[in-house]
Amino acid sequence: MTETPVLEVEKISTVRGRVQVLWDVSLSVRRGETVAIVGPNGAGKTTLVGSITGLVPPRSGRIRVNGEDVTGMAPERLASRRVALVPERRGIFAPLSVRENLLMGAYARRAQRADLAADLDDVFGLFPALVRLRDALAGSLSGGEQQMVAIGRALMAKPELLLLDEPSLGLAPKVRAENFGALARLAERGVTILLVEQNLRLAARICGRAYLMQRGRIVGTATSEELAQSARHVYLESHGEAPHG
């Protein structure tokens, strides 16, 4: 008997404006897995994440969360299915304090104050750098700190599925490593993660396998080892001769 995947995406096609961006994209993520989506700029990774969260509903195809068909469901309803997003470019609530940002992550849970306090402590345990910033305006933080807020906010939703859209984007290597350390700990705890990442080495570090995306299609899959290998390859390419298409 096989367990129902946490996320099943079945042949979705998504249109933005007048352009079809996703073509028959299918993938699935089982409970406890950490799966990467890698692909070049404009491949449609963010659109795929948007289709899963309901921000950019697909035109055709099916999306199931824990077996429930959520295709076309509004984001605010999907939130109660415990799908949480760490959006591209972080998308923190700039005029709110760090603590308020984190609390908002739990909105769909309708949790008790005491539970929320315990969960806040959890997040501060994962990101100790945020403790002294708890009352600072999130918009005033550095990029790396904002990324921590974005991840912490999603964790406050107690997600069944954590979606991260390029959490390494624009961060210094040291901060990036710290944040991925936190993600690795979450993966160890058994949080199911779907990670969009262009940096193959970082993806290989925490993901068991990956889907490769190009021009709106899934064009292949890779194991963690293959990712790490091609990360080396890409590294050599970009430091040797110019890479090809």
């Binding site: 984001p75 609530f93 940002n101 769909a108």
Partner: protein
């Protein structure tokens, strides 16, 4: 001369307090939905006329006032549900015309229900006028100022110290991301209309004993509230409060020194001035979230 200017200033503070309430309604709706609701002044009219007519029919003033605020709130809810919500896919310009249409429709409704005669409402309490440095405030003016303290105080507490209020601020800051956490944008849009209408209605009710109530009072109060909101930056409740008082004082002093006929003209002049100096204020944020 100085004494009369002081008196004008006091009068400006009183109407300014009402402008501030109406401006708060503009800001609430604009922040939550991205929409400028030009029907805002009519909520004050609904409040004032309902209270005055009920009190005129023998109902105790405070009971009439309470029902009038509820009537204004219900009007706001209906405006959202019947006119704004169904058209939320429309462009910003269309939605502005819809609110202008609502304004005309509500004023017409006021004319139909209450006619052209001004209605008066008794002050909420008796007592003698208060004298401040030789200027005189009627007892009702204290109710007006108390209303501002309570309304703005309640808004402050709600937005800064409640979970739901924080969620509204999150929804304003980043609507799509807020929605992915389950924050209900449309529900908040609905309540922004209800609360803005209730606050506007309350403004109309508390000022009615001073200005009396007419079916077309929404025009003046709506314009003034809008100017006050723009003065305050259209995005901030403290701005609305300050904008209301500043505008009230300018209008009353100018009207007093020139002639009362100039009051609306001065308001318009200030609007043009602000729009020229801060043109991004109005259509700069073309996003709508109704």
């Amino acid at each position: 001369m100085m004494a009369s200017v002081w008196q004008y200033i006091l009068a400006g503070v009183v109407v300014g307090a009402i402008y501030a309430l109406i401006a708060a309604g503009f800001v609430l709706i604009y922040q939550v939905t991205g929409l400028i609701n030009f029907a805002q002044g009519e909520f004050a009219m609904i409040g004032a006329m309902t209270a005055a007519s009920l009190a005129g029919a023998g109902m105790p003033t405070l009971a009439a006032a309470g029902i009038a605020v509820v009537a204004a709130a219900v009007t706001g809810a209906l405006c959202y549900l019947l006119a704004i919500r169904p058209a939320r896919a429309a462009t910003g310009v269309t939605l502005i015309f819809i609110t202008l249409g609502l304004d005309v429709a509500l004023r017409g409704l006021g004319l139909f229900v209450w006619g052209t005669n001004p209605l008066s409402l008794n002050a909420f309490s008796g007592g003698t006028a208060v004298t401040i440095f030789g200027g005189v405030l009627p007892p009702q003016a204290l109710w007006v100022l108390l209303t501002d303290v309570l309304v703005f105080g309640a808004l402050y507490l709600f937005f800064r110290h409640t979970y739901t209020g924080t969620a509204v601020r999150a929804a304003v800051a980043n609507p799509p991301i807020a929605s992915t956490f389950g924050i209900p944008l449309r529900t908040f849009a609905f309540w922004s209309f209800v609360v803005a209408a209730a606050i506007g209605g309350l403004g109309g009710v508390v000022i009615a004993p001073i200005t009396s109530a007419t079916f077309d009072m929404g025009l003046t109060f709506g314009l003034a509230g809008f100017v006050a909101a723009v003065l305050g930056g259209l995005e901030s409740l403290p701005g609305a409060l300050v904008g209301g008082f500043v505008l009230g004082i300018i209008v009353k002093v100018a009207g007093g020194l020139l002639s009362t006929g100039w009051e609306d003209g001065v308001g318009f002049f200030i609007l043009v001035l602000v729009l020229v100096l801060r043109p991004q204020g109005l259509l700069g944020r073309a996003v709508r979230r109704a």
